[in-house]
C-alpha cells in the first residue's frame, strides 16, 4: 500500500497508553514484593519503600497455608482440566449425529447458556440446590435422612466445584469441536461408506482423526491454565470449614494481601503465581506450535 503509516501509529496511541498504565506499571509494581511497601507514599512507594530482599518470599514459603493453597490449586485445576477435556469432545460427536436442525440448534442454545451466567448468579443457584435448606436436603428430609450441608463438607465441596464447572462450560467448549467436525471433507465419509464402514466406524476412523489437531491443541493449551483454579467460582462458594481443600493461591492473595492489607506479602504470592504461570503458558504455546502448528496471530 502506498499510504504513509503515520495514521496507523496514531490509531494505536490510546491502547498503547492504557496498556502501559494499567498493565505495564503494575508489572513494575511487583517490586513491592521485595520491599516493605509504604502505603502512604502511593505509587512513589514502588520506588522509595524500604528494600527487604527475599524476606516476603521467606514468609510466603514458610506459611503452611500457602503450601496447602498451592496443593489445592493444582488438585482442583487438574481435576477440572481432565474432566473438561473429555466431556465436550463426546458431546460434540453426539451432537453432530443429530440431523434435525431445529433439535440441534435448540440443544446448542440451551447448553451454551450457562457459560454466560456469572459465578455470583451460579453461587446463588448452587446454594439453593445444595445448601442446608436446599432442594437436595428437601429430598433427604422426605426420605427421613438427616440434613447434610454439601457446601461445608470437603469431599462434596470438591465434587460441586468440578461438577458445576462442567455444567457451566461443557456446552460452550463444544463450539470449537463442532467447527472442526464441520471442516472435515465429506468425501472421506463417502469413501468410508464405500468401504462398508458403519456410523461407529466412521466416527472412529474419520471424525476423530479429523478432530485430532484441535483436540491436541485444546489439551496442550489447557496446561497453561494449571495455576488458575477458578477464583470467581471458589470465592463465591467456599467458607471456613472447607478452606483445607478449597483455598487456592488466588483466594489466599485476596484474603491475606488485599483484605488483610499486607500488600507486600500479597504481591510476593502474586509474583510467584505470575512467574510460574508465565512459564506454563509459554511452554504450552511452544508445545502447541510444535505439535499442532498453532500460531496465535
Amino acid at each position: 500500500m502506498l499510504l504513509p503509516t503515520r495514521g496507523l501509529h496514531l490509531m494505536l496511541i490510546p491502547a498503547v497508553v492504557i496498556v502501559f498504565i494499567y498493565h505495564y506499571l503494575p508489572m513494575f509494581g511487583v517490586v513491592i514484593a521485595f520491599e516493605n511497601y509504604d502505603w502512604s507514599k502511593g505509587l512513589n512507594g514502588f520506588w522509595t519503600s524500604q528494600f527487604v530482599g527475599w524476606a516476603n518470599f521467606n514468609r510466603v514459603f514458610g506459611d503452611p497455608e500457602f503450601s496447602q493453597a498451592l496443593l489445592n490449586t493444582l488438585r482442583i485445576s487438574v481435576l477440572k482440566i481432565v474432566t473438561m477435556f473429555f466431556v465436550p469432545i463426546i458431546v460434540a460427536i453426539l451432537l453432530n449425529e443429530i440431523r434435525n436442525m431445529f433439535a440441534k440448534r435448540t440443544i446448542q442454545t440451551l447448553i451454551y447458556l450457562p457459560h454466560f451466567l456469572s459465578w455470583v448468579v451460579l453461587a446463588g443457584i448452587i446454594t439453593n440446590l445444595f445448601g442446608p435448606d436446599g432442594v437436595i436436603n428437601g429430598f433427604r428430609s422426605s426420605l427421613n435422612l438427616e440434613p447434610f450441608n454439601y457446601l461445608t463438607d470437603n469431599g462434596s465441596f470438591l465434587a460441586i466445584l468440578i461438577g458445576s464447572n462442567i455444567w457451566k462450560e461443557f456446552g460452550f467448549s463444544t463450539i470449537v469441536y463442532l467447527a472442526a467436525i464441520t471442516g472435515i471433507d465429506p468425501g472421506l465419509y463417502e469413501a468410508a461408506m464405500v468401504d462398508g464402514a458403519n456410523r461407529l466406524q466412521q466416527t472412529w476412523h474419520v471424525t476423530l482423526p479429523g478432530m485430532l489437531p484441535i483436540i491436541v491443541l485444546q489439551g496442550v493449551l489447557s496446561l497453561g491454565g494449571i495455576l488458575n483454579a477458578g477464583f470467581d467460582q471458589i470465592y463465591n462458594l467456599y467458607s471456613v470449614p472447607v478452606y483445607g481443600v478449597a483455598d487456592v493461591i488466588d483466594t489466599l492473595v485476596f484474603r491475606k494481601g488485599f483484605q488483610g492489607g499486607d500488600y507486600s506479602l500479597g504481591a510476593a504470592m502474586g509474583l510467584f503465581n505470575a512467574v510460574c504461570g508465565m512459564a506454563l503458558i509459554v511452554t504450552s504455546y511452544m508445545l502447541a506450535k510444535k505439535v499442532a502448528h498453532y500460531e496465535i496471530f
Binding site: G42, N198, I296
Partner: protein, 302 residues
C-alpha cells in the same frame, strides 16, 4: 453410493439415534433445570422454599419476593450502575479495539512496527503484575471509587483484538486498495469500508464485552468503596450469604414490611438472582448466530 449409506443406517443405528436424541435433550434440560428451580423458588411462598420443597413449579405462588426486591432502593441504584457500566464499557472497548486491530491486521512488510506492537500487547497475556500492584495503580491514578476503574483498565482487550484482526485480515484487500486510489486515508478506510462489513466480529466482541461487564462482580468489590457505586453483581455478591428479610424490614413502606410473611431469605435471594440473570437470558439467543460465526471466522488464520 447413497443407497449403500442408507443400508448402513441399520436398526442398530436407529436405536442409537433415538437414545442419543433423548440423552442430548436431557442434557440440554439439565442445563436449564437449575434456572427453572430458581424461578420457581422466587415465586413460591417463603416457608415452602425454606423447607426445600420447591422443585420445578412454584408452591403457593406469590410475587412478594419480587416486590421486596423492587422496593429496595439499593437494588435500583446498583442496576443503574451496571447499565451505565455496560454502555460506557462496551462503547469504549469497541472503539479502542477497532482502532487497535486495524493497524495490527496490516502486513508486517508494509507496517514494519507491527510486530513490536503485537508483542507489546501480547506480553500482557503472558505476565501480569497481579491483583495487588494493579489495585495500587488504579487507586493512585485517581480511578478508585469511580466508574472508570471498572471500564478503563480492561478496555484494550488482547483476545478481542486477535479475534478482530484475524477477521480483518481475511477481508478482500481489493476493497481498501480501491479506496486508496480514490484518495482515502487509513481512518476513512477503517470506518467507511472495514467496519461496515465486519458486523459478525463486531457483534461477537460486543456480546462478549457486554456480558463480561454485566457479569463482573470482582471489579466492583475491589475498586468501589461506596455502596451506591456497586454494580448489581457486586451488590448481589455482598448479600448472598446474609438474611435478606432484613432488606424488607428496612423498608419504610408498611405494605412491603407485611410481604415478609409471604417470603423468606431464600425466595428473596432467588428473585434477586433471577432478575440479575434475566438480561443475559433475554439477549443471548438473538446474538447466538453472531457469536458462533464470529468465533469461527475470527479463528481462521488470514
Amino acid at each position: 453410493m447413497r443407497k449403500h449409506g442408507n443400508l448402513n443406517r441399520s436398526r442398530g443405528y436407529d436405536i442409537f439415534y433415538g437414545i442419543n436424541l433423548i440423552f442430548l435433550t436431557l442434557l440440554a434440560l439439565l442445563c436449564v433445570a437449575p434456572l427453572l428451580n430458581l424461578l420457581s423458588l422466587s415465586l413460591s411462598a417463603g416457608h415452602y422454599a425454606a423447607a426445600g420443597k420447591v422443585t420445578f413449579w412454584p408452591i403457593e405462588p406469590t410475587t412478594a419476593s419480587y416486590e421486596i426486591v423492587f422496593a429496595n432502593k439499593v437494588f435500583w441504584n446498583s442496576l443503574g450502575v451496571s447499565v451505565e457500566r455496560v454502555i460506557l464499557g462496551t462503547s469504549l472497548t469497541l472503539v479502542v479495539n477497532i482502532l487497535t486491530s486495524y493497524p495490527l491486521s496490516m502486513d508486517s512488510s508494509y507496517f514494519h512496527a507491527r510486530r513490536y506492537y503485537l508483542w507489546y500487547f501480547f506480553f500482557t497475556t503472558l505476565f501480569s503484575g497481579g491483583l495487588i500492584p494493579t489495585f495500587l495503580v488504579v487507586k493512585f491514578t485517581g480511578l478508585y471509587d469511580t466508574i472508570w476503574a471498572l471500564v478503563l483498565p480492561g478496555c484494550a482487550n488482547v483476545w478481542n483484538c486477535i479475534l478482530m484482526l484475524n477477521f480483518f485480515r481475511q477481508l478482500p484487500k481489493e476493497l481498501s486498495e480501491a479506496a486508496v486510489i480514490d484518495g482515502a486515508g487509513h481512518f476513512s478506510i477503517l470506518f467507511r469500508i472495514i467496519v461496515p462489513i465486519s458486523k459478525p466480529v463486531l457483534a461477537t466482541v460486543t456480546l462478549f464485552t457486554m456480558v463480561g461487564h454485566w457479569n463482573d462482580w470482582f471489579g466492583g468489590m475491589v475498586y468501589m468503596s461506596t455502596l451506591s457505586h456497586y454494580p448489581l453483581q457486586t451488590y448481589l455478591q455482598s448479600i448472598l450469604h446474609i438474611d435478606l428479610t432484613q432488606i424488607a424490614l428496612s423498608s419504610v413502606d408498611f405494605r412491603i414490611q407485611e410481604k415478609i410473611q409471604l417470603a423468606s431469605s431464600t425466595t428473596i435471594r432467588s428473585a434477586m438472582v433471577f432478575v440479575t440473570a434475566l438480561p443475559i437470558m433475554m439477549v443471548y439467543p438473538f446474538l447466538q448466530k453472531y457469536f458462533t460465526k464470529g468465533i469461527v471466522l475470527g479463528s481462521v488464520k488470514g
